[in-house]
Symmetry: C2
Subunit: 191 residues, 2 copies
């Protein structure tokens, strides 16, 4: 807990703030205030704001990888694993209602800013995409697993966007149920 370096604290605070208020709208002063350090202290750890963004994307990538491999261990069948993915919408529904999906909203913002970190941010999506794709492949080797992965990914994104726009948690549960049914129907048709 307390063996975290200042750098870690900065990245952690930036991670939260970028999610809750967006990258551009989060200023150095705001991060400094949260971490309770001087504004000038930043430039000993990071040269630019973009460098902080890269660090944030880095830890998000690592956390995502860890989460996916944990799901891989805890859920024994590919169908259960995909279901586990679908249900993060439920798990994170409170935050999603307020701030949307951390991955989707970041990619959307960086696209508008035409920011050089776009490819790095996209890797967060790619992580889920390839992981889901591998699960679908295990279900049916002849299926176009990547298309199915993108399909699930897109539906999750849409749910997060609308749940946030309408501040509606019930809608999340509604759509998760539909996605579960879709997955069951798919499995029944293929196995």
């Amino acid at each position: 807990m307390s063996d975290k370096t200042t750098r870690d604290h900065i990245v952690e605070a930036a991670d939260q703030l970028f999610y809750q208020q967006g990258y551009e709208h989060t200023s150095f002063s705001h991060i400094a205030e949260t971490v309770k350090i001087s504004r000038g202290n930043f430039y000993h750890h990071f040269k630019t704001k973009d460098e902080i963004l890269n660090a944030v994307i880095g830890v998000r990538l690592e956390n995502t990888r860890r989460m996916l491999s944990q799901w891989e261990n805890e859920e024994k069948t590919p169908v259960d694993r995909i279901r586990r993915f679908i249900h993060i919408l439920i798990t994170n529904r409170a935050k999603i209602k307020h701030y949307g999906c951390p991955v989707g909203t970041l990619c959307t913002e960086l696209a508008k800013l035409n920011h050089p970190a776009q490819p790095e941010a996209r890797r967060l999506f790619t992580l889920f995409r390839t992981w889901l794709s591998r699960q679908f492949e295990k279900i049916d080797h002849n299926a176009d697993a990547d298309e199915l992965a993108m399909h699930i990914l897109a539906r999750s994104q849409g749910v997060a966007t609308l749940a946030s726009a309408f501040s509606d948690q019930k809608f999340i549960k509604q759509e998760v149920k539909l996605m579960d049914e879709w997955l069951n129907a798919y499995v029944k048709g293929k196995i």
Copy 2:
């Protein structure tokens, strides 16, 4: 064409720029540069930046209403009308690939800024939502039309988000095809 007032030009330019680079990232200087007027001239037409945003949302609402009633006239069956909605993804695929959905990305940004115009922006979604809901009601009076409308809306949003994140137009066509099939299956089951 040339009978547009300066105010109209400002709103028009702001509309495009808010879509392409986001609301916060678009500055007065940038709009002024585009319209080719002095920066100071703004405050004869608008008191604050938020007022411009409200005007932009206003014209978007009006344009959307006009578009929906046009679809209502051109397409004679509710199914054709819903299909028409689905296919704006194809029509606007080039811009969606770059900037995502104009409605979804605006609502997402305003949510992060905790901006007072959030309810106004949400009305853009509501317009589509109630229109789609009415179409579904015409297909089947016993259906939960609103759930179906939200479902289609969410899937469109997801497609736009991922198409932008991956700069992938082909994915749009792929998913539109799936949505068409979903609609056909639904109609076949209910009629």
